[in-house]
Symmetry: C2
């Protein structure tokens, strides 16, 4: 028996990780299968041993990213829910995020998903609902945010990041991110 069981699995994860990075940066049509594979030191030939096609990879990489997202991280024990929520907002509305460090698919793939298949949309929806639930859960322990407030905050921060990516002036971007950070914190009860 050649190769250990974990080898293919590791390669697969490498592809998924790299694919998510590329897809969020350039969109489904902006990346070639070749590019996807060379980006992790492989060639296109090996691709179909791992995935049935480009669309399948797109969907899988989305699911992969969802499960390893920062928002689904569990809160460290030594800080309060409120403080943790503040940190999540800080990270989400940061230049690092806008520049593609651990990109959130909700912001980076917002319009890209529209032209993808149903499965991609369902995954997107699941991630979106997960985000709302996460924020809702954290707020419930210290305040009493209603659904309107949660939904408007997620739209705000997703929108802010999506918009920021297209603005080239960093000053404008910073202002936008700071503004949304303040308003989102206020809506969520002084975070």
């Amino acid at each position: 028996m050649p190769y250990t069981k974990e080898h293919k699995d590791k390669t697969r994860k490498r592809i998924l990780q790299s694919a998510f990075q590329l897809f969020t940066a350039k969109g489904f049509d902006g990346v070639t299968v070749n590019e996807l594979m060379e980006n992790c030191g492989l060639t296109r030939g090996a691709f179909y041993a791992h995935f049935s096609g480009k669309s399948a990879l797109y969907n899988e990489s989305l699911k992969f990213a969802a499960s390893s997202s920062k928002l689904s991280e569990l809160k460290p024990n030594n800080i309060s829910d409120k403080a943790w929520l503040g940190q999540l907002l800080d990270g989400y509305l940061s230049l690092n995020h806008v520049n593609g460090i651990r990109p959130c698919p909700l912001a980076f793939l917002a319009t890209d998903i529209v032209t993808q298949d149903q499965e991609a949309k369902e995954t997107y929806t699941r991630v979106y609902e997960g985000m709302n639930k996460t924020i809702m859960d954290y707020t419930q322990t210290y305040s009493s945010c209603n659904e309107n407030e949660i939904l408007s905050v997620t739209s705000m921060i997703i929108g802010a990041v999506a918009i920021s990516r297209t603005l080239k002036d960093q000053k404008t971007v910073s202002t936008l991110l700071v503004s949304c950070r303040l308003e989102a914190g206020r809506i969520l009860g002084g975070v």
Copy 2:
């Protein structure tokens, strides 16, 4: 001299209009030149008599849409600034808008623009700043919204529409739109 001066101009506008509709619906790569032309009763051959290429059309259609956008419409005389702003929000956060009736490029092309050239991004930025200015102007006459509030509201409504397009459950979409309508109105001083 064949053809009247206005003929080509009318055709050009027809192409621009139709192109904007298609680009917002399916993204730059999701539409072919063939499709763009057949959508207004022409064939691809005629295309290059009007535009230097697909990218050029994308940029021009974006500018065209910007100049004919609802947000740049002037307010009717018989209603207040506040009421008019309310109507703008109603329209923006409506199912019609989400379904592609007079689509706002800020929401519909948010991530699509990222892979386009500098010119497209500049146009996007201009439209974005115009939207902020418009809302700012209307609010100043009855209230005293600061920049943070304006910027967070535009992110919110743009984000809401972008997200809504990917959610298939209409109930969820309606809830989201209504929530953002309420919160945006509140932030803008009870609109």
